[in-house]
């Protein structure tokens, strides 16, 4: 990977030369348009926000992984990233605050053949929903968790979050945050996730590749995506606009695949270690349940698919 050395120009619209000529003549549809509820545009995200960039990567990953779109469900909680569920043209659930993981757990258990993606923010997943996510990882339930981390509660006005770096100013820590922040990859690694990666919204291609990875991997997978919140986090910390954030990510990011997650904690102005940190195998929850119950119940065991969803 060479994400740290790419030119920002690559982040712009794809050059027309990449599209088939006949498509160009009739005003080509953007390849990700089929994944979006265009009747809901414009979206609510601020100029310079990184969430839309992650959705672009997500759509391209779905294309690349050739996932059956009728068999994918996206579950979000509440917050700016919580709105992702509303904009993707898939079965999608905008659930209550912090409860994306438990909702997704139920959805997955009742529909074992569904690809269930949890797409939510750092506050929703790790503050309000903190307990849920560590237990889902412990169980190694087959969920694909995409956590957009902008270090702050954007939708409610820029309050401090469990991910806010020490020293950062937020609306509720005007003199700087003094609480130690969660190191999300370390937390997920320790909780038992089988796939843990981190990218920033600068690393669109690497992020897409990680998303393809998790569509193909069974078990609890976790991707943290560092994104700018120009309206609140960037402004409060004098870090400039969205584009400044991408330049900053480019400058500060160091790709270290396989880095021990204990060494990837983020600081306000230190290096941003990105890459795929964990990729391992552990027995998945449904498989464990099936083997345990089938062993104990013998012929009385009934597959979940035959029990639920009347």
């Amino acid at each position: 990977m060479n994400g740290g050395t790419r030119e920002p120009a690559e982040l712009g619209p794809r050059p027309e030369a990449e599209l088939p000529p006949e498509a160009c003549e009739c005003a080509p549809e953007n390849p990700v348009e089929q994944f979006l509820r265009t009747d809901r545009m414009p979206h609510i995200w601020c100029p310079g926000c990184g969430i839309g960039t992650t959705v672009n990567s997500f759509a391209r990953a779905l294309l690349e992984a050739k996932v059956d779109l009728d068999r994918v469900a996206v579950v979000s909680g509440i917050g700016c990233t919580g709105r992702v569920a509303g904009y993707v043209r898939l079965d999608s659930f905008h659930t209550t605050h912090g409860r994306a993981v438990p909702f997704a757990t139920g959805l997955k258990l009742a529909n074992p053949n569904l690809t269930v993606v949890v797409y939510s923010g750092d506050g929703d997943l790790f503050a309000i929903g903190g307990n849920h996510i560590i237990h889902a990882a412990r169980r190694n339930l087959d969920l694909k968790v995409i956590c957009v981390n902008n270090f702050v509660y954007g939708m409610t006005g820029g309050q401090v979050a469990p991910t806010t770096p020490v020293g950062a100013a937020t609306t509720t820590t005007p003199y700087g945050c003094f609480e130690p922040a969660f190191n999300l990859p370390a937390l997920m690694d320790a909780s038992g996730a089988v796939y843990v990666a981190r990218w920033t919204s600068f690393h669109v291609r690497q992020l897409t590749r990680s998303m393809v990875d998790i569509f193909r991997k069974k078990g609890f997978c976790f991707i943290e995506v560092i994104t700018p919140c120009p309206t609140l986090f960037q402004r409060k910390n004098r870090m400039g606009e969205g584009l400044d954030a991408l330049k900053y990510y480019k400058e500060k990011s160091k790709v270290r695949h396989g880095a021990p997650t204990s060494e990837v904690a983020l600081t306000l102005d230190g290096d941003i270690i990105v890459g795929k940190f964990v990729d391992r195998e552990r027995p998945e929850f449904m498989d464990l349940m099936r083997s345990q119950l089938a062993a104990q119940l013998g012929e009385r065991y009934v597959e979940v698919e035959h029990l639920v969803c009347s």
Partner: protein, 255 residues
């Protein structure tokens, strides 16, 4: 009791059932699921501390004898189906995930497509429907056990474990020649206001023993609408009433 009904913000209706025995915990748990599927609303099974910890004989019928009301799924194809287009009973039909409907569900105020719609008109339409789907069915949902209320002068209204203490108190009062009826609430919410109001002109008073300092008594008083007295027999909990306390309240009315 009130938290079950008013615990969230805004306007809504809830269904809450109050068992008074382990057998009823079993039976009402099934009914609660059936109602939740039928109305698409959370149903509270209100076990008090005593009923929740009680050990008694429970008869579990064979599975095929248990009545199940499955959730209603749409027959409309994707494209025609709208997740929140209500049927005649104001309850929209559902779909399974993973069948190509590409539907969206949100907790925000939404329109029939399920899309967030932050207008006063959408809010008005949604909240009124959510209330009406329950209030319209209130008579059908009303479930209570009545005994000797036809010629009663006093009716003891109770629920949960207190209903079993009240039963003893009513028997003691009847042994003293008092005309006492007993009305045990099984459906607590929606409250059977109409049924109690119809009773009120024919009696002197409702006696309402509760394991709290007076909550459902407020609903009874509202239902009585001044046509009968309403006597609270509160108990702060940690134990149950002595039947004598309820008996005293009954006899006081009849003095």
């Amino acid at each position: 009791m009130m938290q079950a009904r008013w615990g969230s913000h805004g306007d809504y209706e809830i269904i809450a059932l109050s068992p008074n025995s382990p057998q009823e915990c079993f039976d009402l748990a099934i009914r609660a699921f059936n109602l939740a599927e039928e109305f698409r609303v959370p149903v509270m099974l209100m076990m008090d501390e005593c009923v929740g910890h009680m050990t008694e004989k429970v008869i579990i019928p064979p599975a095929e004898q248990i009545e199940i009301h499955p959730r209603r799924h749409t027959r409309l194809p994707p494209g025609e189906y709208k997740p929140f287009a209500p049927g005649p009973d104001l309850v929209p039909e559902m779909v399974h995930a993973g069948e190509g409907y590409r539907f969206h569900i949100t907790g925000l105020t939404h329109d029939e497509r399920g899309y967030p719609s932050m207008t006063a008109a959408a809010q008005d339409r949604l909240v009124k429907r959510l209330k009406a789907k329950i209030t319209r069915a209130a008579d059908r949902l009303a479930c209570y056990e009545a005994d000797g209320i036809e010629d009663a002068e006093v009716v003891v209204v109770s629920y949960g474990i207190t209903s079993r203490v009240a039963q003893r108190a009513v028997e003691m009062a009847r042994a003293r020649g008092a005309k006492v009826g007993r009305l045990r609430l099984i459906t607590v919410w929606p409250f059977p206001t109409r049924q109690l109001r119809a009773l009120a002109p024919h009696i002197k008073a409702f006696v309402v023993p509760e394991l709290n300092l007076g909550q459902i008594v407020l609903e009874v008083e509202r239902a009585a609408a001044g046509q009968a007295d309403t006597i609270s027999v509160p108990h702060a909990g940690g134990g149950v009433h002595d039947p004598q306390q309820i008996l005293d309240a009954i006899m006081e009315v009849l003095k």
